[in-house]
């Protein structure tokens, strides 16, 4: 482990937290754990030394002036929740506080107005899961986003969380914390969009969201993360699913010097279902580390993971997907696939699909592949007049499409396709349609 230095200790002292507070307890655990080094199995391929010398932000202030930015116009009708450097920015957001049984606010207000809900859920996901970064986050959490769907509530509009980074102090670290609670039979769709407004500046963030999906509730989370070059991002997303509930997560990652996404799903009741799909596209010296842990704690649950990686330049990526089937979690159905394309000889993928099974009547499959582009397919496209480089991009686009096509929000799916087309330099085919669109009469 890497010892926690004075920069963290002094920052925590500035917060003046009570001795027996949740924050102090979390900080003590963090201090004991230290920042994981590469001996730690879950961080084996990702070097965390960078975090050693950072100082967590403690003032929670928002820069007064932001440069012009655009919100991606994928949705006309939405609740827009903006955070800047980890703190909820009321003035930049546009949403209804209380509509269709969905309550939205910043975490600080939620602690007053929905005290019971917050107290019974906040930090509950990390109890059986010791992780230095979630502990650090709890200790230094800024005022993030709170979403609470009451029983049977149906959000008519998607909730867009736009996470902006701007003008962070040098060597500072943002700890953003969100809490999302879906009560019985409610339904919510969330879109998360990460945008660093300083293209050239470093940005460090420890992002932690907890999601509670209670009986028969349905949650969709679509994540779009196109990072600037110098970002160091640690993201923890922990999900607790009750009986008959359902989550579908799609995550698309482009670029970033260091992007670690850690998804953990607990299937705690019968007939729960979790789908996590992702695409990561790296170039230059980008590093992406995706870790998924799905725990089948109850029988008759299903989980599906499809991750695709595309790596160019000297980029590196890690995929570690694990399915854990607890004793008694019979009739589990778990599927996991990770496929990767290496576009350059210097790109590296470390992929590790894992199964850990303690029940005897289950159906689990997993697999990982990595390879180069299919020369046959490139030649085929070339014989139709498509230049080699473009043919490659076309095939890469198609490779990523499997994940994008599975997104069931049409507007967001189309937006994702456009970003893919843009990032792959296929923009000149501006009329590029999706596979499904076809000919209209």
């Amino acid at each position: 482990m890497i010892a926690v230095e004075n920069n963290y200790t002094e920052a925590f002292e500035r917060l003046n937290k009570a001795e027996n507070s949740l924050e102090t307890q979390a900080f003590n655990r963090f201090q004991k754990m230290g920042i994981p080094d590469r001996k730690s199995e879950v961080y084996r391929y990702s070097n965390l030394k960078h975090f050693k010398n950072l100082t967590p932000a403690t003032d929670g202030s928002i820069p007064h002036k932001l440069p012009k930015y655009f919100t991606h116009e994928y949705l006309a009708d939405k609740h827009l929740l903006v955070t800047v450097n980890g703190t909820f920015a009321e003035n930049l957001s546009s949403y209804s506080e209380d509509e269709d049984g969905i309550h939205i606010s910043c975490m600080c207000d939620a602690r007053k107005e929905f005290r019971d809900i917050v107290e019974s859920h906040y930090n509950e996901t990390s109890k059986d899961y010791p992780d230095a970064f979630s502990e650090m986050n709890t200790a230094f959490a800024q005022c993030g986003i709170f979403i609470y769907a009451t029983k049977n509530a149906q959000a008519k509009k998607p909730i867009v969380m736009l996470h902006l980074g701007y003008n962070q102090q040098k060597d500072s670290l943002t700890c953003q914390r969100n809490l999302i609670v879906l009560e019985q039979n409610s339904e919510v769709e969330i879109i998360e969009d990460y945008l660093n407004l300083d293209e050239e500046e470093a940005f460090n963030i420890n992002h932690f969201s907890e999601y509670f999906v209670e009986q028969d509730a349905r949650l969709k989370v679509n994540i779009y993360q196109e990072e600037s070059k110098q970002v160091h991002f640690i993201g923890n997303k922990f999900f607790e699913l009750s009986k008959g509930s359902n989550i579908k997560i799609t995550t698309l990652n482009f670029k970033g010097e260091f992007v670690r996404n850690n998804f953990r799903v607990n299937l705690n009741g019968e007939h729960g279902e979790a789908t996590i799909n992702g695409v990561f596209i790296n170039e230059d010296k980008d590093h992406t580390d995706s870790r998924i842990l799905i725990k089948h704690n109850a029988p008759h649950c299903e989980s599906f993971q499809t991750f695709k990686g595309i790596l160019d330049g000297e980029s590196t990526a890690v995929f570690n997907g694990k399915v854990y089937v607890a004793e008694g979690a019979q009739k589990t159905n778990a599927f996991q696939s990770n496929k990767n394309i290496l576009l350059s000889e210097n790109a590296v993928i470390n992929t590790k699909p894992e199964l850990e099974i303690y029940a005897d009547d289950v159906k689990c499959s997993h697999g990982a592949t990595c390879g180069q582009l299919d020369e046959n397919a490139i030649f085929y496209a070339q014989t139709r007049g498509i230049p080699r480089e473009k043919a490659k991009k076309l095939i890469v686009f198609a490779f990523a499409q499997e994940v994008v096509q599975a997104i069931d929000n049409e507007a967001f799916k189309n937006f994702m396709e456009r970003r893919l087309v843009h990032n792959l330099g296929l923009a000149e085919y501006s009329t590029f349609d999706s596979v499904q669109s076809g000919i209209k009469e």
Binding site: F379, A400, Q401, Q405, S437, I439
Partner: protein
């Protein structure tokens, strides 16, 4: 249009084409027949520019240009087309998008604007009729899950879209039932003009009942060893290839 002279090509140090000569003029249909392993598909691959072949000697000129100096896509844009023996599946790319990319790429190289969506769709519909291909295939992933016959029809459809000057059909008839064979042949016949040409590689005479060739060539051991008209194909069907081998041995 196409002139191949003394072409020698090898793969992994094994010589496959051993001095092949062939001349194709506009408006002509050439059939190339011959036993397995005599270099028919290699010829198709070398003309269209698949790498992994080493060209030892000889030349291929097409419309006065040196084909061997060009990348496969340059050759395609100049008007060479290959209907694959085993069409490649590309998951995630629809036939529509694939064709759109191909056509707009050629237009781009000619300094033209991309084709208007309306014009493109009109053209698609026209060509789909030609090979009796269902619209639903257009929006599905290219060749993925298509039957053998559907794949071959898709090849002819693509050929119709791209309007090549020289189309090479590499065993397009293999694996086709008689109805599909008729559809494919009908497509080729309708596309035939006095300005374009076809090279049809086949094992069987039956395709040549539907597409009448001007010339039939027999390939053996990396060379064209006998040329004739459509009667030669019938003789091959009736008597096999042994008599040619015997003739050569003499």
């Amino acid at each position: 249009m196409l002139k191949i002279e003394n072409l020698k090509a090898s793969i992994e140090n094994k010589e496959i084409l051993k001095g092949l000569n062939l001349e194709v003029k506009p408006g002509e249909i050439h059939a190339i027949m011959g036993p397995n392993g005599t270099g028919k598909s290699t010829l198709a691959n070398v003309i269209t520019g698949r790498d992994s072949y080493e060209i030892g000697e000889g030349s291929i000129s097409f419309m006065g240009e040196d084909l061997l100096e060009m990348a496969p896509d340059e050759r395609a844009r100049l008007g060479v087309f290959l209907a694959f023996q085993y069409p490649v599946e590309i998951p995630g790319v629809s036939t529509t998008n694939f064709m759109k990319a191909a056509i707009n790429e050629r237009r781009r190289h000619l300094g033209e604007e991309p084709m208007k969506a309306g014009d493109f769709l009109k053209m698609m519909k026209e060509k789909m009729k030609l090979v009796d291909i269902d619209q639903k295939f257009m929006s599905r992933s290219l060749n993925e899950g298509f039957s053998g016959g559907e794949k071959k029809r898709n090849e002819i459809f693509q050929m119709a879209m791209l309007e090549p000057k020289l189309a090479i059909l590499d065993e397009t008839d293999s694996g086709l039932d008689i109805d599909a064979l008729k559809i494919v042949s009908n497509g080729v016949n309708q596309l035939r003009t006095k300005d374009n040409a076809f090279i049809i590689i086949t094992h069987y005479q039956r395709l040549l009942d539907y597409i009448i060739p001007d010339f039939v060539h027999v390939m053996y051991d990396g060379r064209i060893v006998k040329s004739g008209d459509k009667e030669l194909a019938k003789k091959l069907e009736a008597k096999g290839y042994d008599w040619i081998k015997e003739e050569l041995a003499v």
